[in-house]
């Protein structure tokens, strides 16, 4: 167990040693500080830099939180992928991999501990921002929307799929660049394309292509749907998606499980 914890701890420390992650944490503080200075409540209205925001304060704040969440998703996933992409390739560098594989620990446990360490880095970065902004909204408006905190588990679920994919690519290619580029293009961009094709139904006329894209839609993580789900939870609005929320979660978890298992098996079999 102590070996497992040691790898998790070292991965977390490796994350903190990276300038990208330190920069994100500094940006988090700036964003929290920005809301602390900009947001105020007066009478029955919310003010942003002294300008009144139209609507009831509770509704306005929920819309505001939903907009902030949507922005977080777009930016955080991009930055997160770049920040995490190097972890698995670095672990496999000559001279580093020898030191870790020569310990009395199974390769599956090494892979899992590294994976958890990466997720822990993402959790700290994400949770600090969400909890920080939530606290600011609460302090400045007196309204604590617990629904806003759903951003943390939903974001982590999305990132679980991305992390598993990045880990798999990192193990196969041992390249940070490929891990980052493929990590953005394959699960992030493609899931948006498949979502758009699925929702619009423009391929319904062509059975062959429709079934191909429907298959891919179900294989890939449901990033846009999960974001929409999060926003609808915060805004207390019904989910605008043709897919069942449970299926959204399960298919995203399925993608993560497949990539994770593939990465672990390849790591297990490879000679270094």
């Amino acid at each position: 167990m102590s070996r497992f914890v040691a790898i998790i701890g070292n991965t977390f420390r490796e994350g903190l040693a990276k300038k990208t992650i330190v920069t994100i944490l500094v940006l988090n503080v700036i964003i929290i500080g920005f809301f602390l200075l900009a947001l105020n409540i007066g009478g029955n209205a919310l003010f942003l830099f002294g300008h009144e925001l139209s609507g009831l304060p509770d509704e306005v704040l929920r819309r505001f939180e939903a907009a902030v969440t949507a922005f977080f998703y777009q930016v955080s996933i991009f930055i997160g992928i770049f920040a995490i992409a190097s972890f698995f390739p670095t672990m496999q560098e000559k001279g580093t991999v020898d030191l870790i594989l020569s310990r009395p620990m199974s390769r599956f446990n090494i892979f899992t501990a590294k994976f958890i360490g990466c997720m822990l880095v993402v959790f700290v970065v994400m949770a600090s921002l969400v909890l920080g902004t939530w606290w600011v909204f609460w302090v400045k408006t007196g309204m604590a929307h617990i629904e806003y905190l759903s951003t943390i588990p939903i974001f982590l679920l999305i990132f679980l799929a991305f992390m598993a994919f990045i880990a798999m690519v990192g193990i196969i290619t041992r390249s940070t660049t490929l891990s980052a580029v493929l990590g953005i293009f394959i699960p992030f961009v493609f899931s948006m394309i498949f979502f758009a094709l699925h929702e619009s139904g423009i391929l319904l006329g062509d059975k062959f292509w429709h079934s191909i894209f429907e298959f891919l839609y179900w294989v890939f993580p449901k990033t846009p749907e999960m974001t929409a789900m999060n926003i609808s939870i915060i805004a207390l609005e019904p989910l605008e998606s043709s897919t069942d929320p449970a299926l959204i979660i399960w298919s995203t978890l399925g993608f993560a499980a497949f990539c994770y298992a593939a990465g672990a098996v390849i790591f297990q079999k490879r000679s270094y």
Binding site: S2, R3, V5, A6, I7, N10, R13, E14, A17, E93, K94, G95, T96, V97, D98, L99, I100, L101, S102, R103, P104, M105, S106, K269, S271, Y272
Partner: protein
């Protein structure tokens, strides 16, 4: 007790090229065994397969055929590495960690209990003369300093087997001597050491047994004494030998020759014959400064063996 055992160990690397698959045989059936308490040296030219063998023993690389065991466990099982300390040749310790943190990290990875860890780390840093640099990041260490910390990391969990790949690489002469002394001290404690080094003079000073690997095969194996022994040839160093002494001894039927450094090399069938030569020299009032059994250096033996095998490298 056998600590290391390999049986017909083979490794073939495959690389995919434009015109098909290229196969390189790194190990072609290696049979080796190392007993508890030995210092075993693995020698060989570049590309002989030494590092591949070490990597297979430590589960870093998998064999294509054959098997290997550490402490009786197959090397494919993590349990076989429960009491192994390893210093790789081109190690890369996390540069963002300080020397002391690196020690703590690898101590934890080796399964060392938390109790007593700090004391052990302090002792080893002191032993490797790195105590005052314990709070400095690895990224700022020189090659020699990294090597010292690497040695300390390898020893941190007090392993029964130490696998050291070029342990004195980048270390100054005093440091080399210190490392040699540490290895001998560990041997005295009953630890087993598997040493992979190019510095034949160092191997000669510390190893009990050696094996020479060439083109993926063990070409010779044995104790250092046996491999460097050239038979009953003795070197006699004389104080002011008289002119014509060599011819005089040869005329008496003694197989003697000069070694070019002022010493007499005497080939005798037994000690009685050697003593007869000494008696004769003394009867001629020739002063003998020293007598020693003649050996060839490990380096000469290595060059000779590799030369006969037809050079270095993998096939």
């Amino acid at each position: 007790m056998r600590v290391i055992e390999t049986a017909d160990l083979r490794k073939t690397f495959r690389s995919f090229e434009f015109f098909g698959v290229k196969r390189v045989e790194a190990l072609g059936g290696v049979n080796l065994s190392v007993d508890k308490g030995e210092i075993f040296g693995l020698l060989g030219p570049n590309g002989a397969g030494k590092t591949t063998l070490v990597k297979i023993l430590l589960g870093i690389c998998y064999s294509s055929r054959g098997g290997a065991k550490l402490f009786g466990h197959s090397v494919r099982r993590a349990a076989s590495r429960a009491s192994v300390g390893y210093l790789p040749e081109n190690h890369k310790y996390p540069t963002f960690l300080k020397g002391q943190q690196v020690m703590r990290y690898y101590a934890a990875l080796s399964g060392m209990p938390l109790y007593g860890r700090r004391k052990r780390i302090d002792e080893l840093l002191k032993l490797m003369r790195m105590k005052e640099w314990a709070g400095t990041r690895m990224g700022k260490y020189s090659k020699g300093m990294q090597q010292r910390v690497g040695m300390a990391v390898a020893m941190v969990a007090d392993p029964e087997l130490l696998v050291l790949d070029e342990p004195t690489d980048g270390v100054d002469p005093i440091g080399r001597k210190e490392i040699r002394d540490i290895l001998l001290e560990l041997k005295a404690q009953g630890k087993t050491i598997f040493l992979n080094s190019h510095l034949l003079s160092e191997v000669e000073l510390v190893c009990d047994r050696i094996a020479i690997l060439n083109k993926g095969k063990v070409v010779t194996e044995g104790s250092v004494d046996a491999l460097t022994d050239v038979g009953n040839t003795f070197a006699l160093e004389l104080e002011e030998p008289p002119p014509g002494l060599l011819e005089m001894l040869q005329s008496k039927g003694i197989a003697v020759r000069g070694d070019g450094n002022g010493e007499l090399l005497v080939d005798v069938p037994d000690l009685a014959e050697l003593n007869a030569v000494i008696d004769y020299l003394r009867s001629q009032s020739i002063l003998i400064r020293s007598i020693r059994r003649k050996r060839i250096s490990l380096e000469d033996m290595f060059i000779d063996v590799i030369g006969k095998e037809g050079g270095a490298g993998v096939r």
